[in-house]
């Protein structure tokens, strides 16, 4: 048996993703965001989280998915990795799940290209339900973003 993990489950489109709970500080409803000019397009700006200014990024934009309108379900997940605090805008977040690390497989080969780097693995919860485990430090890796941006240019 592997280790027991607690993960926060959130949705982007039809896919479900997981972040280890100890990396998540809080989950907030949508709130006013102050735009920061001249930064990456997926950085929506900064918010005031109880006196601390925290940048928020649209995770759809970060993964190259089409960005959508924010709804009542939209949440900001505040994560802290490598002393960086960042908010992720996700379509919805409403589940906490216990996982055994045994059920997490390495990312399947079919997921190729840049996107594979963001994945820590895929957890099989049931026959139909797969949970994509995020590799947070890669998601927040800025040097790689710079490369990505220059590719797009």
């Amino acid at each position: 048996m592997g280790e027991e993990l607690k993960v926060i489950v959130f949705k982007l489109g039809e896919e479900e993703y997981g972040i280890e709970v100890d990396k998540v500080q809080t989950i907030e409803r949508m709130m006013p965001i102050t735009r920061v000019p001249k930064t990456y397009s997926f950085v929506k700006g900064v918010i005031n989280l109880r006196g601390v200014v925290i940048p928020v990024i649209d995770l759809r934009g970060r993964f190259g998915l089409p960005e959508t309108e924010y709804t009542d379900q939209t949440r900001i997940i505040i994560v802290a990795v490598n002393e960086m605090e960042v908010g992720f805008i996700v379509d919805s977040a409403n589940d906490v799940m216990d996982l055994n690390s045994d059920v997490i497989d390495s990312p399947p080969d079919v997921v190729g290209g840049i996107k594979a780097k963001y994945l820590h693995g895929v957890a099989r919860i049931s026959e139909e339900r797969l949970l994509v485990m995020l590799n947070l430090s890669e998601v927040l890796n800025r040097s790689e973003i710079i490369q990505l941006e220059s590719l797009e240019d």
Binding site: P37, V46, I47, V52, V53, P55, E85, V86
Partner: protein, 694 residues
């Protein structure tokens, strides 16, 4: 006893003493015959020794002890200061510094200082390599040893004696010898004490009264005595007692008391924790008791304490982390304050408004105080430079005068902590590369001694630090050639670069103009590190130079990094804060005033035209376009001498804002200096106008 609680105090004070030792040694080097300075140095060393011994740092205290032995000879004019002694003492100071550093880092302050100790001991024995006075001092040394008798007084006793002298009592030092054939020494001694106690007060005796009672003394004992009787009268009274061989009675004044009880004052200074040893030393004749225990006694006697003398210290040391916490709490309070102000404005109830207004005033005062608490004179950084420049100059065999101006200029603690290293680098640079070798200076018709000026001054909300040398200046071509060789610039770029741009190449990574990499500059850290450090403090560094005349490095730093006054403005649906420090004035311009000059938009301002920029354009604001407006609000901003105007949509008002950073995730955004939280809880970006004026 748990020493930990005293450790931080010990470290702080040791550093102070080391600093003062360094400074005074440098002074002494300029005037080697000034015994006054030697006294100051001796006292500092003595205090340090005492403190280290108390705290159980044996190596520290024994090294200081050796230094003291040398200094003792010097102050008694048994030994003349000379280069070798200076070098050895400086070496000792460095070793002490390292030990204290080690203690600071949690170590036990132990170090192998045998070679220094040996040198110091050799000096005391008069063995000075190449020294001319060695013969004289070798004889003097043992003499000095025997001469320095006297009873060790503790600080309390010392101050009692001091006080008594000040108040006009007679303070006597008495040495009584009992006849060799005396049968009952203790009894005779008792008679002497009995007699003395009838006419005055015995403050301290050696051996102690108990030891004398138990006959634990040879033939003589000595004591400090306060009385109204005449010295001669007392002497005859003592000698008249049977079996007393002799009695020497010596009246004391401030100075002789000080000499006899050498080192007592230092102990006093150490005890009161804050009394600067130098102040005590500078005015030895009117030292007032500083130990708290003596206060009651002193007041009971007369009010002499009140008139003049060294005032008791009125400062306390505060852990910087506590100040940081205070600052954070204050920023929370400021944010809530603006929120309250806004609510009061909306609710419009006069008693609420009044209360909030009062709270605002109290808040502003509080803020001023807290900010001032965090201000530290830059002297704390500057003071370590004279020693460093001396060492570097000496190792390069150059003669250099370091002139420090504006050391009292105050800066926020956070900036002070960071600015030391870059300045060290710039100073080394000035000494190493700036000032030419002596021969070259003479050939160029310059004074033999080079001058490096280190200046600090305030200007607006900034502090400027300048390092200027009168050396050879920067050779533009040399730098360009080197930059071309290293591939930092291309030939075509080089052709169009201004002098200033060329000088800035010095700050490029991996750039060194030194032909030979010297001990001082060849340490793998270049000016690029200096620049990035200064920029991380939101500062700017620039260079100006005249070939043959000298070079000036100028560093511009923000005064504080936390709370500023700002003008809140609106552009479309967005709000921004512009620091008041860079605003010259605000105004309204008409559309037809805008001119196009050489492709730039300009507006008339006073007698000139200044560039006009649109904040909406610079920040790509989507929902505002001033081109549709007939009249436009502008903010005239300033960077140094240069002015520019920013067009905005509307002014909201002036406000104190707390600077918050944008978080580690976001890269540096040009034109944005940070963010702040407004009264309504929204985040507003702080505009950095400096970025817009090139």
């Amino acid at each position: 006893m748990d020493m930990n609680q005293y450790l931080s105090m010990f470290i702080d004070e040791s550093n102070d003493h080391l600093q003062s030792l360094n400074e005074n040694m440098l002074e002494l080097e300029k005037a080697p015959d000034d015994i006054g300075i030697v006294q100051i140095i001796f006292r500092s060393a003595h205090t340090l020794k005492g403190m280290a011994a108390t705290m159980g740092f044996e190596d520290l205290s024994s090294l200081t002890h050796q230094m003291e032995n040398v200094l003792d000879l010097v102050r008694n004019e048994k030994l003349k200061m000379q280069d070798y002694i200076f070098d050895t003492l400086f070496k000792s100071l460095d070793a002490l510094q390292m030990m204290v550093q080690d203690i600071m880092n949690g170590g036990d302050g132990k170090a192998d200082v045998q070679s220094i100790v040996t040198s110091l001991q050799a000096i005391v024995r008069g063995e000075i390599p190449g020294g001319a006075d060695s013969a004289a001092s070798s004889q003097a040394a043992p003499a000095a040893k025997t001469a320095s008798t006297g009873i060790q007084l503790d600080e309390f006793q010392y101050s009692v004696l001091e006080q008594s002298i000040t108040e006009g009592h007679k303070v006597l030092y008495i040495e009584v010898a009992i006849r060799e054939d005396c049968q009952l020494k203790a009894a005779r001694a008792y008679l002497v004490f009995d007699l003395l106690e009838r006419y005055g007060e015995v403050v301290k005796s050696h051996p102690s009264v108990q030891e004398i009672e138990q006959e634990k003394f040879e033939r003589s004992f000595s004591l400090y005595y306060i009385t109204q009787k005449d010295a001669a009268e007392l002497q005859s009274m003592i000698v008249n007692l049977s079996e007393i061989e002799s009695a020497q009675v010596m009246p004391l004044d401030h100075e002789t008391l000080n000499q006899l009880s050498s080192g007592v004052q230092e102990a006093a200074a150490a005890g009161t924790a804050e009394a600067p040893a130098t102040a005590a030393a500078a005015a030895p004749s009117d030292v007032k008791p500083e130990a708290p225990q003596t206060a009651a006694k002193a007041e009971a006697k007369t009010g002499a304490r009140a008139n003049g003398g060294a005032a008791p210290s009125r400062t306390i040391r505060v852990d910087i982390e506590r100040l940081d916490v205070l600052m954070n709490l204050l920023s929370e309070l400021l944010i809530d304050r603006s929120r309250l102000e806004q609510l009061a404005h909306e609710i419009k109830r006069s008693d609420l408004t009044e209360t909030v207004e009062h709270m605002s005033r109290v808040g502003s005062d509080l803020q001023n105080i807290v900010l001032k608490l965090r201000m530290v004179p830059i002297d704390t950084v500057f003071s370590r430079f004279p020693r460093m420049v001396r060492d570097v100059a000496k190792s390069l065999d150059k003669k250099i005068d370091l002139v420090i101006l504006g050391a009292e200029t105050e800066l926020d603690r956070t900036v002070i902590d960071e600015i030391g290293d870059p300045l060290v680098h710039l100073l080394r640079n000035a000494v190493d590369h700036g000032i030419e070798p002596t021969a070259q200076r003479i050939a160029a018709g310059k004074p033999e001694t080079g001058t490096v000026q280190l200046r600090a001054f305030h200007s607006g909300n900034h502090v400027f630090i300048e390092i200027e040398d009168d050396g050879g200046g920067i050779d533009r071509d040399k730098i360009l050639n080197k930059a071309l060789k290293n591939g930092i610039v291309t030939q075509s770029e080089a052709a169009t670069m201004s002098d200033e741009q060329v000088y800035m190449l010095l700050f490029a990574a991996g750039f060194s103009t030194a032909e030979v990499i010297s001990d001082i500059s060849g340490r793998g850290v270049g000016l690029d590190v200096v620049r990035s450090k200064i920029e991380s403090l939101s500062g700017v560094v620039s260079v100006t130079s005249t070939l043959g005349k000298g070079t000036k490095f100028s560093v511009q730093l923000p005064l504080t990094l936390s709370i500023i006054s700002a003008m809140l403005i609106k552009v479309g649906s967005e709000k921004y804060a512009i620091p008041l420090s860079s605003i010259v004035e605000t105004g309204i311009i008409q559309r037809n005033q805008i001119r196009s000059v050489h492709g730039y938009t300009m507006v008339p301002y006073r007698d000139a035209h200044i560039p006009l920029m649109s904040l909406a354009n610079l920040f790509e604001v989507a929902d505002f376009d001033e081109n549709a407006e007939e009249e436009t609000e502008i903010v005239v901003i300033r960077k140094g001498e240069r002015l520019a105007a920013l067009t905005i949509e509307d002014f909201i008002g002036q406000s104190e804002i707390v600077i918050k950073n944008l978080g580690k995730y976001l890269p540096q955004v040009q034109g944005v200096a940070g963010a702040t939280i407004l009264g309504d809880g929204q985040v507003a970006l702080i505009v950095d106008p400096n970025a817009f004026i090139k």
